[in-house]
Symmetry: C2
Subunit: 109 residues, 2 copies
DNA sequence: TGACATATGTGTGAGTTACATATATCTTCT
DNA sequence: AGAAGATATATGTAACTCACACATATGTCA
């Protein structure tokens, strides 16, 4: 019984980015905490970020200022902010449905 | 922006079956109403039901008593009831996470 | 040196989903 | 009677998603 959280990764990502620019590895941590997932799959996350960039949802640029492996820093575009607003509405709907579903389950028959 | 409701179809199905035996087409209606989905994909639903039967979650038998196309009537097994309880726990967790996510989004930055 | 954490990626096979199509029975409208 | 539409069960399939394994680079600490 796995909780269906994977479809929430994209909106969680956008919410994390709304609070400021960040890079993939750090975003994985933030999302993991938000969703209560121990391990976010990094491979798929980076692929997802590139897809979002191709769609104009986020932009990125390399950051070599700090020591260590170069980081690719992502930021939310205006299109991305609009998408997040749409996501929020859709999430509210899902939340409502989940509430109703659980209520239905918990009621005494 | 599609609400991620598809992963909730299986638990919704089990909840519907908990209230009594039913057949595929009718279950599609019940689930659709529970989840606020206009059209449940019948093809995949029937395939899903056969998968659940193979896994011992539900049982089925043909019902030719009523007029019209023969119906295959499904019922929840004990294994299925246990699975539903596990689903409920997992759904509660997802619900919590969704609540937190929306709260995070709605807070003023 | 070797292990581990940080950081960004590619490869891939299994499983899921959306959408189209087929078949059968019954009701309703024209 | 004929056509359309609802009820009911099912198959086919292309596209997509996901989990898991692997590759690569840099820095730290024992």
């Amino acid at each position: 019984m796995k909780p269906p959280l994977t479809p929430l990764i994209e909106p969680a990502l956008l919410i994390a980015l709304r609070d400021g620019t960040s890079h993939g590895y750090d975003l994985a941590d933030q999302i993991g905490e938000m969703l209560g997932i121990d391990r976010i799959d990094h491979g798929n996350l980076y692929r997802g970020l590139r897809r979002l960039e191709a769609e104009g949802i986020v932009t990125s640029q390399w950051n070599d200022d700090e020591p260590g492996r170069s980081k690719r820093t992502y930021a939310l575009t205006e299109v991305g902010e609009a998408l997040l607003a749409a996501w929020a509405e859709s999430l509210r709907f899902t939340h409502e449905r989940l509430t109703a579903l659980l209520k239905n389950y918990e009621r005494k028959p």
